[in-house]
């Protein structure tokens, strides 16, 4: 039994917080999530009791810190089903994708090669590839969508039409429409065609069980802050043989065995060779606590909770012709919509005036507008602590919220 009332008690941000004088209803979880006490306390503990660097001292505090970082890496590896040395700490999903771009693609792609992505991708899974293409002469190509969706067939056809695809990079769950792709099947197609597959797990790993080995993807990236963890930490999970093949990206202390005055550097093995400089240690401790929190709740329960809220919201919105929903056929915790005749930003501002946090615009997926047919949408997104009562408040304000200018003229 998933006890939502009990879950909500863990989150300080859900205790009597207001926005615009109204109880806060936070429905922008695809952007970032609230942190439970367990995560905040774990991070406090680092600063209050454990403060030390890692890998850099001969004293107990430092040794203990090394043990904590190793435990965090093990926790992540177990959570995602990878080997422990396949987990590289990064500042988040964006840096993880950039690490593959600069460490792998820049090293191994050349003029004439192609990178397959989609027009629904977030900027973080588009712009690193554009940059690599500028540097190498490779080209980005786009999978043909089937009514807004990336399908296995679409990826298969892309390979039929194009023998130069060397790398495929797609979001596991889209950040605007919430559609899940068949990652396992797509990975198999990529490998049959001699390409590598990067799976952007920013919107999937926080919401469902993701098994790195079972999916057989080459790279998986995600951020802690979208899964109850701190900002500024995330990871790249990569097949070890590929991580070892990759060039280093950031260089400096903590990533090398030795170097000399002939400009010779011997890097450490992966994952350490990618982790130059002092790690974000308090965030790593918080990341571990977040994963333990999610694991205790159960990823199946979390996924089911999102899906139930989605179905509940969609069923309540049914029959309101002035509310256009772009992803009714999805089943994640994201609803992309517009009110007829109202600019997305204006609706989001009206909702803000009611204490409801949603996002409007293109949500960093700036090629998606022709796919949806609108320049902007409003996006509401749920998480493990979102309640049905919050969905009710949201929908009531969509329907009875009044005029958009009420946001400026309410008393």
């Amino acid at each position: 039994m998933y006890d939502i009332k009990k879950v909500r008690l863990d989150f300080p941000m859900l205790q009597n917080k207001t926005m615009q004088g109204k109880p806060l209803v936070f429905l922008d979880n695809a952007s970032t999530t609230f942190k439970p006490r367990q995560v905040i306390e774990a991070m406090d503990k680092y600063y209050l009791e454990m403060n030390s660097n890692s890998h850099r001292g001969d004293y107990d505090l430092c040794y203990n810190m090394d043990v904590e970082v190793a435990k965090a890496r093990e926790t992540i590896a177990k959570f995602i089903n990878s080997d422990v040395n396949e987990v590289v700490f990064t500042s988040g999903d964006t840096e993880a994708i950039n690490l593959v771009a600069y460490g792998y693609a820049l090293e191994y792609l050349k003029k004439g090669d192609q990178i397959l992505i989609s027009e629904t991708e977030h900027a973080s899974n588009v712009l690193p590839w554009y940059r690599i293409c500028d540097l190498t002469g490779a080209k980005v190509c786009f999978v043909k969508l089937d009514d807004k969706r990336i399908t296995v067939e679409g990826v298969r056809n892309a390979f039929k039409d194009n023998k130069s695809i060397k790398l495929v990079a797609l979001a596991h769950v889209g950040n605007v429409l919430g559609y899940e792709i068949n990652a396992k099947e797509i990975a198999s197609i990529c490998h049959k065609n001699g390409a590598l597959f990067l799976l952007d797990g920013a919107q999937s790993v926080p919401h469902m069980a993701v098994d790195f080995k079972d999916l057989d993807v080459d790279f998986l990236t995600f951020s802690a802050h979208k899964m109850c963890g701190p900002t500024g930490i995330g990871c790249l999970v990569g097949k070890y043989v590929l991580l070892q093949k990759m060039a280093t990206f950031h260089t400096g202390g903590g990533m090398n065995v030795k170097f000399n005055n002939k400009q010779e550097v011997i890097p450490l093995d992966a994952p350490a060779k990618f982790e130059a400089g002092t790690l974000n240690l308090s965030a790593i401790i918080g990341f571990k606590a977040a994963i333990e929190y999610l694991t205790n709740l159960g990823m199946e329960n979390i996924h089911k909770h999102d899906q139930e809220l989605f179905e509940y919201a969609i069923s309540k919105l049914e029959g309101y012709d002035n509310i256009i929903i772009y992803n009714k056929d999805s089943n994640s915790g994201i609803i992309a919509f517009n009110i007829k005749g109202v600019f997305a930003q204006d609706e989001a501002t009206l909702l803000n005036s009611k204490g409801i946090a949603v996002r409007s615009g293109q949500h960093c997926a700036k090629m998606i507008d022709p796919v949806i047919g609108e320049p902007a949408t409003v996006r509401m997104s749920t998480y493990l602590y979102t309640s049905k009562e919050e969905i009710d408040i949201f929908i009531d304000n969509l329907i009875n919220g009044g005029d958009i200018l009420d946001a400026y003229f309410f008393n």
């Binding site: 600019f343 930003q345 204006d346 803000n352 005036s353 615009g361 200018l405 946001a407 400026y408 309410f410």
Partner: protein, 143 residues
């Protein structure tokens, strides 16, 4: 004085300028200076055009995509700026900015633009209400 406008009148003015922005078009003639402005947190993506002759703004118009607040605030600014000297325009922009940030301001010069007095209630939209005004300011301040 516009300050005596009721809320309902202020709403009507905003809606009128957003549904029928008379200054939203590209300039037909020559001699315009253009500034492009876009917003990181809104859809706003505008080109602002000013035509300045003999130290005076003789025409102002804009084109692009904008939310209700940026559309109406830019349209009203164009109306108010036409015919004003550069000095008068800069003073008006300065007073408008003061109003946005809830600082003391000279309401005499803001005329219809007073309808945006409540923008600070929705702080995320201050950028929208000032985007056209900032664009005009960037053209005029170097004159």
């Amino acid at each position: 004085m516009p300050i005596s406008l009721t809320n309902e009148m202020m709403r009507a003015i905003i809606m009128d300028h957003s549904s029928n922005p008379t200054n939203k078009h590209t300039p037909s003639g020559e001699g315009y200076q253009k500034v492009h402005m876009h917003s990181d947190n809104c859809i706003d993506d505008l080109d602002i055009y000013l035509k300045i002759e003999n130290d005076r703004v003789v025409d102002a118009c804009f084109e692009g995509i904008a939310c209700t607040i940026s559309l109406s605030s830019t349209d009203i600014m164009c109306d108010l700026m036409k015919g004003k000297t550069i000095q008068e325009s800069l003073y008006m922009i300065e007073q408008y900015q003061h109003m946005m940030h809830e600082e003391p301001f000279d309401d005499e010069v803001l005329d219809e633009a007073i309808v945006f007095i409540n923008t600070s209630k929705q702080a995320a939209r201050i950028r929208c209400a000032t985007i056209g005004w900032n664009a005009a300011n960037s053209i005029l301040k170097d004159k």
